[in-house]
Point group: C2
Chain length 331, copies 2
């Protein structure tokens, strides 16, 4: 190709760019998604519910999208990242708790028995997570999480945990918000573990984060009122708990829901059962090279019944290997 022609092409390209500041209808909102059926289904859904002329139009105030966090917005292997946090906390606090040497699940943590840890069910995990970070005020806990995130690195990928979020999902969150959606997290993880960082990382404000939680107690002290985190689980936001919490806290049925495990199944069922256009999506971890590959037999993020239900009901399944051109930001 002659330089002259190249120059011409460049000129034409420039003349086609929308004026700076104006909305650019041609810009690709999902550049990290490969151009397949999954991407098309998402765009088709958003186009339908935002088009006032379409019978599937949904008023802006009802555009609620809920996202699981672990395995849906960021990675969850080889252990849930909140468990990595708990492990670091338990090790740091062990000298004050000699009884933990004999007591599960603390014993396994102190022995770095990863096999035992990954075999725990959600309730055991929550017990460990909650017990390991109770006994301080909510403000103190927020500081502890901040501090940990600014120093801890993933043991295999050697990156800060907050960089192990999925670039395609960041684009999807933006795309939905640009189309009038409220994007909510509805996660089995602890709500106070997520709130300190999800606003910066996902653009999701604290009041749109639903999660598991400890009981907290209001105490009036000589320094003023405090909220103290008690070592007692108040609510586990997993499985049947997800639609229950969605109803309690959001008070509206989502029209779109995203998960990656059987723990998200009831949220997707609840979303699917509403009237009108619906989008139910599972992230399927199929990429052993760039991330991890696991589903029906995994201890973490098991996706067994969910895969079966997705096939039966025609829900969308993201094949991470095929559908995502990029996994993490800044790759």
């Amino acid at each position: 190709m002659k330089p002259t022609l190249g120059f011409l092409v460049l000129l034409v390209s420039i003349s086609c760019v929308a004026p700076s500041g104006a909305p650019d209808a041609a810009a690709d909102p999902l550049p990290s998604w490969s151009d397949g059926v999954t991407r098309q289904r998402i765009i088709e859904f958003v186009t339908t519910v935002t088009d006032p002329e379409n019978p599937g139009f949904v008023p802006v105030e009802e555009r609620i999208a809920t996202f699981d966090n672990d395995g849906t917005l960021w990675s969850e292997q080889p252990v849930y990242f909140q468990l990595a946090f708990a492990i670091d906390r338990v090790n740091a606090m062990a000298s004050e708790h000699p009884e933990w040497k004999q007591e599960e699940p603390f014993k396994s943590v102190l022995q770095s028995d990863l096999g035992a840890l990954t075999g725990m069910d959600m309730h055991d995990l929550m017990t460990l997570l909650m017990a390991s970070h109770a006994g301080m005020t909510t403000a103190e806990f927020r500081e502890i999480v901040h501090e940990w995130l600014s120093t801890a690195r993933h043991p295999q990928l050697d990156r800060p945990y907050t960089e192990l979020v999925y670039q395609p999902m960041l684009e999807l969150l933006d795309y939905l918000r640009d189309n009038g959606f409220e994007t909510w997290i509805v996660s089995g993880g602890g709500v106070e573990f997520m709130r300190p960082w999800v606003e910066e990382v996902y653009g999701i404000p604290p009041q749109q984060v639903v999660g598991s939680r400890l009981k907290t107690e209001f105490r009036m002290t000589s320094d003023g009122p405090r909220l103290v985190r008690l070592p007692e689980i108040d609510f586990i936001d997993d499985k049947e708990g997800k639609p229950v919490a969605i109803n309690h806290i959001i008070g509206r049925r989502p029209i779109a829901a995203f998960g990656n495990s059987d723990g998200d199944l009831q949220m997707l069922q609840w979303t699917a059962a509403g009237d009108g256009e619906r989008l139910m999506v599972y992230v399927h971890h199929t990429d052993a090279d760039r991330e991890w590959a696991y589903d029906r037999d995994s201890h973490i993020g098991r996706l067994d019944r969910g895969l079966t239900e997705a096939a039966k009901n025609g829900w969308t399944v993201i094949d991470m290997q095929d559908d995502w051109l990029q996994i993490y930001p800044n790759e």
Copy 2:
């Protein structure tokens, strides 16, 4: 005055009106508030936190204002309106529950013993409220509330309950939202009793309503998933419960809080204890002619410790008789 001069005055007035559609800086955002210290304090607060040049400026995402409902946004006499709803429900359901004739608090309801009812504490009231509207799905309950509100009328004022909201508070909600605030309800009342109507009446969406609640259970039926309301209290959003729920659900400390009773004291204390500009406001029911007058000795909406703390801490107290030119809309 000569007609000619009147015409001239009219012309001058017209020429001073801002062009249609343009923001009118001179428009009074609080026309139902008399021009006293209370109104000035509210406007001063909003002006301060929204002025980027002011050291008291608060970024828009932190502008959270919380409002109690009963006695703060609408009336609560002679009984909480949700209790009037429960009474109507209990009477309607009594034939299916012969045991209620012998059992308090149902017995008092069926005997229309208003004295006994107004003497109940919040926990008894909640028991009655919750028990009288459990055993159906959340969708069915919403319909029941809608139906009741469209037919029931206040026994003394002979108006629909949703018209017994305070016009000055409607203006205040709009004024705060126009200045970037999120306005939240944080009420001892049932969250699912409020959500069916507060969006239309107050402009507050379901996801900004915090209240007391029953336990609900997710059930997969042959007709799809259902959330069933169980006859068991899950959470009472009163007194110490208010800051606890604010932390669980909003995840941010309010910068402004509005209540009318000792049940709101901890919410106001929690709000006051944050850094920077704060606005703590009590509605004081002082108007026996246009509404009701009650405070330290009232069974409903008792304001005793709250009045003392307000005076001690310099919080704002709305004197309903002096500060409000109008009580209800369409008067």
